[in-house]
């Protein structure tokens, strides 16, 4: 025999695989015998998988959308002087202390951007508005330009927030009048995703040299993520406020955590809803397999009588349930893709990039795996029952 040279383990494994081929082939033919029943069972799994995948993706898109909308809320810490302690502004020493406090890889090395602040009337060609005017030397660390370019070192000209630019209808190259002096606009900022006491949309940023103040009004600490922002805030509290409460901190990372927690809960809840329909699908497979094994009791008895082992009978029946599960899961996954694509195409409000996010693929895979799994789990009991029936009993009828 050709098996003789092989290790028993290897021979066993190849035998294991080999046994599935005739099992799957026989299973497929058995399923074709009662097409209506098979199609209905497949449909059940298909709907279950559709529910899990679609609700999973729905929850995920909601979470992603919310994440997108609240965006950088949690990544900025705004440090202000603590007026209650008599501190009116942040000195160079304070800024240095803040820089030193966050200069640590474990808090993500955030950028520290000190700001002068004042209010002034800003006028364009046709309109004027009252805006906050900030003095900043490194605007690129904290902001992004929509038009024009942010200079690495801000030495001249004005950077205009999105809101102000729209109100005054100005763009880079135009001139605005700030507190009586003409300044060229070098850049317009992108609309802010950030909710913070520093509202860049309604502000104009000038070089530090435009200010004669002797201290900074605020310092922005810009982190990569909510977690590092919280760590930075903690580090500043510990170091800068060690002896005296010199600064106030404004941070929303904790709030963002809560919001994310809520969306996690929502996703789980939606998946649970989908899961219920998948369980129902599982029960329908259980029913179909039980009916089918009862009907084929004699056939199974004959197989056992002529020497087909219990394991191989089990294989055939498990393959039937698995095929129902796999077919339903594949159809359900495909249907979900079509449904989601249709929804995105017909609903302009849904941001396509959120739907195409790779994390949604996990939900598809999850639903696919669950569909196949439900098939096999629900098929297990009827298969086991049929395989273990004594052939004498099964043949007697």
């Amino acid at each position: 025999m050709s098996d003789a040279g092989r290790s028993p383990r290897g021979a066993d494994r190849s035998g294991w695989v080999r046994g599935w081929r005739p099992a799957v082939s026989m299973a497929a033919r058995n399923l074709r015998r009662n097409r209506t029943r098979t199609v209905l069972a497949v449909l059940g799994v298909c709907i279950g998988v559709l529910a899990v995948a679609a609700l999973g993706i729905f929850g995920n898109v909601l979470a992603l959308g919310a994440d997108d909308a609240i965006g950088d809320i949690g990544t900025q810490v705004v440090v202000s002087p603590n007026a209650d302690a008599g501190v009116q502004s942040l000195s160079e020493a304070d800024v240095t202390a803040i820089r030193r406090a966050v200069d640590d890889p474990s808090v993500g090395d955030p950028a520290v951007v000190p700001l002068y602040s004042d209010n002034a009337v800003v006028a364009g060609q046709s309109a004027q508005t009252f805006a906050t005017v900030y003095g900043v030397s490194e605007p690129g660390l904290a902001f992004e330009a929509a038009e024009g370019e942010l200079p690495e070192r801000h030495r001249q000209g004005a950077i205009v927030g999105a809101g102000v630019a729209e109100e005054l209808a100005v763009e880079p190259g135009d001139t605005v009048e700030i507190a009586g002096s003409q300044v060229r606009v070098v850049a317009v900022l992108a609309e802010s995703q950030t909710f913070s006491p520093v509202a860049p949309d309604d502000a104009v940023f000038l070089p530090e040299s435009a200010f004669a103040a002797d201290g900074y009004a605020q310092a922005l600490v810009v982190s990569e993520s909510g977690a590092t922002a919280q760590a930075a805030a903690d580090a500043i509290r510990e170091d800068v406020n060690a002896r005296e409460e010199r600064v106030d901190l404004f941070e929303l990372a904790a709030v963002v955590d809560e919001i994310n927690g809520f969306f996690d809960l929502l996703s789980t809840f939606l998946l649970g809803l989908g899961g219920i329909s998948l369980v129902v699908a599982g029960v329908s497979i259980l029913n179909v397999m039980l009916m089918s094994t009862v009907e084929r009791r004699q056939e199974i008895g004959v197989m056992r009588a002529v020497g087909v082992t219990r394991r191989d009978v089990l294989r055939v029946l498990l393959a039937e349930a698995g095929l129902i599960g796999a077919a339903g899961a594949a159809a359900g996954t495909l249907l979900t893709v079509v449904l989601v694509a249709g929804l995105v195409a017909s609903t302009p409000a849904v941001d396509a990039s959120l739907v195409l996010d790779p994390t949604n693929g996990y939900y598809l895979l999850l639903a696919l795996a669950f569909g196949v799994g439900v098939g096999i789990v629900s098929g297990a009991y009827p298969a086991w029952k049929a395989a273990n029936e004594r052939p004498v009993e099964a043949l007697r009828s």
């Binding site: 025999m1 098996d3 021979a11 066993d12 035998g15 080999r18 046994g19 005739p22 099992a23 026989m26 033919r29 058995n30 074709r32 015998r33 004699q298 056939e299 004959v302 197989m303 056992r304 009588a305 002529v306 020497g307 087909v308 082992t309 219990r310 394991r311 191989d312 294989r315 004594r390 052939p391 004498v392 043949l395 007697r396």
Partner: protein, 252 residues
């Protein structure tokens, strides 16, 4: 040596209240190349006898030997293997799987084993005159053809014994005779054939008729002379079969 032997076998069922004795101290034996018909009224224990002989059911008491080896108390898996390798079944209702073609039905006992038995199954069908029906489903075959497929299936593993339960029960006389003629050919190849039957026609073809009444057997064991007839030559066949079996018993 007998192909299959029962020594003082008792089979009791405890259905409901009092136990029913289906086989009452039965001695039974069949030699290689012998055709034995078991007759008896309904409820006399014929089916039980066939189940016990066919390793589908275990005796309550007594001893069972297959090719001289004690197979009284085997595990479920061992019994399945022994059935596959040494015993062929032919049923009254043919019991072919409707989803499989003729040739696949013949190869069913080996369907999950290594190697492709299709060629062997095809040549068996050819031998039974069904060479042009290989890929037909059971629904496309006549009763006689189905029973021939069933006989071919029972022979796929070169069994020592072929057990038939009313093999002509669902066939007209002419077809029944043809099937019995096939049994004669099978037994001439050294296979022991045991047929449980009501059909007087079967008795005509049988070498020996065993009567079973209320679980008691008359004439279960061949006379000495009969046993010697099938002697040394057939033992040679048996040895070859045993060797094949010991090499073939692989993973399970």
């Amino acid at each position: 040596m007998y192909s299959l032997e029962l020594r003082d076998v008792v089979k009791r069922y405890s259905s409901g209240g009092e136990p029913v004795v289906a086989l009452d101290h039965v001695d039974f034996a069949v030699s290689p190349g012998e055709f034995v018909a078991v007759v008896g009224p309904s409820g006399s224990g014929k089916s039980t006898l066939l189940n016990v002989l066919g390793l589908l059911d275990d005796p309550t008491d007594g001893q069972r030997l297959l090719n001289g080896t004690d197979v009284t108390n085997l595990s479920v898996a061992e019994r399945t293997t022994a059935r596959k390798e040494s015993i062929g079944f032919v049923f009254q209702d043919f019991h072919l799987l409707p989803t499989l073609s003729a040739v696949e039905n013949v190869a069913l006992p080996t369907a999950f084993d290594p190697g492709d038995a299709r060629d062997r199954a095809a040549s068996l069908l050819d031998r039974f005159g069904l060479g042009d029906r290989l890929d037909h489903g059971p629904s496309e075959l006549s009763g006689g053809q189905k029973q021939r497929v069933a006989i071919a299936r029972s022979l796929i593993n070169d069994p020592a014994v072929l057990l038939a339960d009313e093999p002509t029960g669902n066939l007209d006389t002419e077809t029944g005779s043809a099937i019995l003629a096939e049994f004669e050919r099978v037994k001439s190849e050294g296979v022991a054939v045991v047929a449980v039957t009501h059909d007087p026609l079967v008795e005509e073809y049988a070498d020996r008729v065993v009567e079973l009444t209320d679980g008691v057997v008359v004439g279960g064991v061949p006379a000495e002379a009969d046993a010697d007839v099938g002697g040394p030559g057939d033992d040679g066949v048996d040895d070859a079969r045993r060797i094949r079996r010991s090499t073939a018993s692989g993973d399970r």
